[in-house]
Symmetry: C3
Subunit: 352 residues, 3 copies
């Protein structure tokens, strides 16, 4: 781990140092667990009271924080605690684990594939015929790139990632371990005699924009005949399922285990909470948000927040839930009055 002084850290984040500038900081830790050689962070007044009990040597705090560091300690006031924390974490980040530059001798790169300058192709990788790997790409071990897939400059593909044939990744895309890009869409039709399911060929591909990040184990199906698309700067968490023909806008956030059925369209900047499901062909407008675990059955206008199963606009859903809760409570209260001897222990079996 590298070491920086509190002054060096304040300079790097462009913050205002209060207290000692010469403290040696060797890492970042939480308010309760940090020791004297660690920097912590305090986002709001609610947590400020814990500072005096903390053992941390220094803390990033918000700009208007008016408490003092105390003897032998330091505070660094910054505009945005979280962004400054990101900068500090970068300072302390160990060098990334990466395969050596070049092509590992155990990797199998088809002679018709093209490799950009300064690529690192790890042990056991497979790069198929006519695939293209851009410059500065890092493929960790056992990455598999099928025929004619294109990986843009500066991408990092973690171990076990599979990119199917003809899929296209933009620049600086990060794909986490064991994710699958371009699996067949799930399309079948009953045979005329109903005896079996006929597979609809899935001859499209997946097109992923620049600066996208895709979580571990996430699966993105190829389009039926055109592309499933993921817009620039979108971030997708682990174990999400993106079905065929989806069109995801730019700078969207999809939390863990989200599932999009076929042909869903998300505008730019849409945020979906964990385990959200969206029915096929639904359109969600730019900037809309959907609460965790919701089931989206209707189009959502731009900018709105929806929640519930089935999802509704947030204020409607909250009002309905509150009305229902009061109604059930009032029924229960009246029932108790009518039966003064009713034991609360029987409530579960005798609710009215």
């Amino acid at each position: 781990m590298p070491t920086y002084t509190t002054q060096q850290i304040a300079d790097r984040v462009g913050g205002r140092l209060i207290g000692r500038g010469d403290l040696a900081i060797r890492g970042v830790d939480g308010l309760e667990t940090a020791g004297p050689d660690r920097l912590t962070f305090i986002r709001d007044a609610k947590h400020a009271a814990s500072w005096s009990r903390s053992q941390a040597g220094a803390a990033l705090v918000w700009e208007e924080a008016d408490f003092e560091p105390g003897a032998g300690r330091a505070l660094i006031r910054v505009k945005d605690t979280d962004l400054s924390l990101a900068v500090v974490l970068e300072m302390f980040a160990p060098p990334p684990a990466r395969p050596a530059p070049g092509v590992h001798p155990s990797a199998c790169v088809d002679p018709t594939a093209s490799l950009g300058q300064n690529v690192s192709i790890g042990p056991g990788c497979y790069v198929g015929p006519r695939a293209r790997i851009g410059r500065d790409c890092v493929l960790h071990s056992h990455v598999c790139v099928y025929d004619e897939a294109t990986i843009g400059d500066g991408c990092e593909l973690h171990a076990g990632v599979v990119v199917r044939e003809r899929c296209e990744l933009g620049r600086n895309v990060v794909v986490h371990a064991n994710a699958v890009i371009g699996s067949d869409g799930f399309g079948y039709r009953p045979a005329p005699d109903g005896s079996r399911w006929v597979k609809i060929p899935q001859i499209g591909f997946v097109k992923i924009g620049d600066d996208v990040e895709i979580g571990a184990g996430t699966c993105i199906d190829r389009g039926k005949f055109a592309a499933t698309t993921i817009g620039e700067g979108t971030k997708i968490d682990n174990l999400c399922q993106i079905a065929h023909n989806c069109r995801i806008g730019r700078r969207c956030i999809l939390a863990g285990q989200v599932g999009l059925a076929g042909s869903v369209a998300l505008g730019d900047g849409v945020i979906l909470g964990g385990q959200v499901g969206v029915a096929d062909h639904i359109r969600i407008g730019a900037g809309a948000r959907v609460g965790a675990k919701s089931g989206v059955m209707h189009d959502i206008p731009a900018g709105e927040t929806w929640m519930g199963q089935p999802a509704q606009e947030r204020s409607v859903a909250l009002r309905q839930a509150a009305t229902l809760r009061r109604l059930l409570e009032s029924i229960r209260t009246q029932a108790s009055k009518l039966r003064p001897n009713a034991s609360s222990e029987h409530a579960e079996r005798e609710p009215l």
Copy 2:
């Protein structure tokens, strides 16, 4: 991409050509995005109006469609638009991406394993002792087949698929990337003194029928002492979880992220929507359907459609939801009458 004339396509799908038979078609695309050298499809009268605005050269339409192709264009009337589309997509499908015939030099095939004629075993594959790979099988890169597993004729296993020991796949099974067949069932019992969980050995296997397709990242656990079974022709989407001892019938459809707990039994032709969960030991009768995101806590009779959490028969669930919605609306309306000055802005906090 190959090129076909509209007449050739009409002949191949057995449809009736209206208009130009000599148009050169080079692919399939959507009604709004297709150009003059592309075929599109129109399933119903609702979308027929868009035909005149579309740039597509030709379209598959339903048999009784009564509109005209217009100058220099073509319509192909067919019995089943979707099945005909499947045929056309097959015509335009690029050759599949496949490892070369034979065993790639980097693959590791145990000397006691048996390989059928005309197999393709890709880079980095592992085939364990006494495993059997049927004729015409394709194993993409990094597929791992544990000891004594059996892969039937004509199967395709995509990159990163794992088939655990003694599992059996029928003929023409397709398994998508990074799926896992035969992982241990999740079975534990508290130790007598409560100090830890004792693992129940999972010594069974998985038996998969002919023509099954299994999605990317899906996991199917082996039986405790017998088989977890997947019936012939069943199709399972990505990231599904099938627990130990499940018995899935023939021609079922399981959409993305479905989870079946242990010992669930599905009859033939059951259809489960995305993110459905089914509790352990539940039985779902043949031909039953379950709406997306439902939680099934009770057995479902054959042929019925259920939905909700907990799932109920569809008409019951819809009726209850409608009754509840009207009830809550009427409470709200009455509350507004009683408090004429109540601002709707307070509705969220003061719903009654």
Copy 3:
């Protein structure tokens, strides 16, 4: 398959043999499917009636079971049917499928990695710089251990498992196929100008206690700056998502497809049903249980059972559900009385 006499099995499980002690038993099977050379098990009086119709040669039964084995058959009375079944399954378990001892020639082990005695490193494995693999570890094919990760003694990592840099596994940890340990946490902040998401570096790691078992396809994200921790003896099923900074206690059970958002804390012995989702920073006390498919939005006190979406204490949730069901039924009954001609067939469209 090995063969044991009923007496040998009774001795091994410490049970009391009733009936024939010399029957040859060649395996375990269900009550309905077992033949004369198979042992089955009967947990309670409800299933005892099926014994006379079963073809099984012998059965494990509970201690006070008072029915007779019948001619030529045997019963073995035991304290805990399930634990005894575990013992018997172990007796009949085929030898485990494992790569040969030593390092497979196709594996790539960095010269700076350290390997304990008696390891089995399978085909195509990758072990990175300064990684440590404890004694008696088994790495099946294509396992990938990044730089400086530590795998404790006696661990088994199935095919395709990825352990990212600096993660630490305790002793006797089992990780099933294609699981991912230590993927980046999902942390972003909007850039000051809102033009993009800034990634918060995820420089922590994952620390897993002894005797933990992790299901196929499950993903566990590394901490932002400290560790995501999984306590000793905890069992996690397939396709679960554990986000960054989670702290999971000892001996917890997480069923399939559970999702924990960031910084969730579970006490010891917590049990989460399938598809449960838990919001970020939630604390669930020791011994608490959460029903399948619940969405946890509030802290749960130790020892309580919660369910529903949003989850509530079980008796509250059940009482509310029962009250609501009765209310909706009474509305329907009254509506029918008021409109005597109303056909039930219209119920769906005319619910009131």
